[in-house]
């Protein structure tokens, strides 16, 4: 997209100051590196990566508890594959499985429900992770479990909501951001109106952006135009699937079964109403309501791991002393090195080209 790149260059020259643009979605970070977008942008634009990897923000504590649950005889734990290698305090789910725990990787929560149908004598637990893109599927699965009376299906609720985390990040004032590339698929569900606070409270322009190289360059051009015109609107570049009000059907299904709750983000801390717990009448679907695991302390990252700063865009992964030395994707110390969408894992993968770049 030659025209767009030229536009970006011209606009950034006219704006004539350094700009920090944050992408919050791990899929964006991965695509930006894959296409070398950082390398073709003008010097004055810095792309920062934010907290948008649900795997990376899952606490050590929850991994430990999940492992404990998966060791029970009458339980089968099911999970998305991304979660398998996240390090707990001693083991990952993958290690626990090697030691005999009952863990099955599924690509959809509906598969978990099928497993529940076929194993009536066991309790099937779905490790419920993911942002708003994934949450409606879990709500739909619970609805199916309710309607078909599949009583042995439960979840371990760890889902996270993105807007409260952005609000928290901006509120902490730890980092100056001139524009947001907002996530395309999360916004397919939640729409653009919900981000209104970014504009009204913080006067920062945002563009909800798709995932091809063209999409991302267009999103950046739209952000620069807003900065040039001194606007701070919530615009939609990814208009093929994102509507102002999102997917209302999916949203109403979410809030039929879940309610907002306090949630802990690994490396970041506790954030009000940034998680979901099961609503009244559906608490029995929460495995924690049946199977009481002792409360553990709020966890801290392994010594030296800077994941928390990386997730907030304050540090880049190479600034962590463990990066690439003690911490690699095959032997991760922190969660940011695990998922394909973790900032540290992405930097590691493209390290030869980008090691010394911001």
């Amino acid at each position: 997209m030659h025209e767009l790149l030229k536009l970006i260059e011209k606009l950034s020259k006219t704006i004539a100051r350094k700009l920090n643009i944050m992408e919050v979605c791990g899929t964006h970070t991965a695509e930006i590196f894959k296409h070398g977008i950082r390398d073709i942008l003008p010097e004055s634009i810095t792309l920062l990566s934010g907290p948008g990897c649900p795997v990376c923000v899952t606490s050590i504590n929850d991994i430990d508890k999940t492992i404990e649950i998966s060791r029970q005889d009458d339980i089968i734990l099911t999970t998305f594959g991304d979660m398998m290698r996240v390090p707990g305090s001693r083991l990952s789910l993958s290690d626990a499985r090697a030691e005999g725990a009952n863990i099955i990787v599924v690509y959809s929560p509906m598969i978990s429900l099928d497993i529940a149908r076929l194993n009536q004598n066991k309790k099937i637990v779905f490790l419920s992770t993911g942002f708003e893109t994934t949450i409606p599927l879990i709500a739909a699965t619970i609805e199916e479990a309710e309607q078909s009376r599949i009583d042995n299906f439960h979840i371990y609720p760890l889902n996270k909501l993105l807007p409260p985390a952005l609000n928290f990040l901006l509120d902490s004032k730890e980092i100056a951001i001139d524009g947001f590339i907002l996530p395309g698929h999360v916004s397919t569900i939640i729409g653009s109106d919900i981000y209104e606070f970014i504009s009204s409270k913080y006067s920062i322009p945002s563009v909800i952006t798709g995932f091809t190289a063209d999409d991302i360059l267009t999103g950046i051009a739209m952000l620069l135009r807003q900065i040039y015109e001194e606007r701070s609107d919530i615009e939609i570049q990814y208009s093929s699937v994102v509507k102002k009000q999102g997917n209302k059907k999916a949203l109403s299904l979410i809030y039929k079964y879940f309610e907002p709750d306090l949630a802990y983000w690994r490396g970041i801390g506790l954030i009000e109403r940034s998680g979901l717990s099961l609503g009244q009448g559906f608490k029995h679907r929460d495995i924690n309501s049946i199977f009481n695991i002792y409360e553990m302390d709020l966890d801290e990252a392994p010594k030296g791991c800077m994941c928390g700063y990386v997730l907030k865009g304050i540090m880049t992964p190479p600034e962590c002393s463990l990066f690439g030395q003690k911490c690699t994707p095959s032997k991760p110390m922190g969660a940011c090195m695990v998922s394909d969408e973790g900032n540290c894992a992405i930097y590691y993968k493209y390290r030869s080209a980008n090691f010394l770049k911001k």
């Binding site: 767009l4 998305f80 509906m110 893109t133 996530p183 001194e230 609107d233 990814y238």
Partner: protein
């Protein structure tokens, strides 16, 4: 984890559809779609569910507006007053 791909509906039976994802056939649930879809339509698929109908026209329109702006900016760079254009 939020990966989702546009997929074409091959056949449809109530709230279940067979879609083509990069050449592979998959069964997906349509329960989350806010509007009706037909065979031949494209839907965005995430972990076994269609989460939105894909509107290619809207995407083209957005791209057109941006290219138009790029051309305008190019030719009027000097004279153009700030915020002088209608937002896209």
């Amino acid at each position: 984890m939020c990966l989702a791909v546009p997929s074409k509906i091959i056949t449809k039976n109530n709230l279940l559809a067979i879609v083509d994802v990069y050449g592979a056939r998959r069964e997906v649930s349509l329960v989350l779609l806010p509007e009706d879809v037909e065979e031949g339509d494209y839907v965005l698929v995430h972990a076994g569910f269609a989460i939105q109908k894909v509107d290619f026209e809207a995407a083209k329109e957005t791209m057109k507006m941006q290219l138009l702006y790029a051309a305008m900016f190019e030719s009027e760079e000097e004279k153009m007053p700030k915020a002088g254009l209608e937002p896209a």
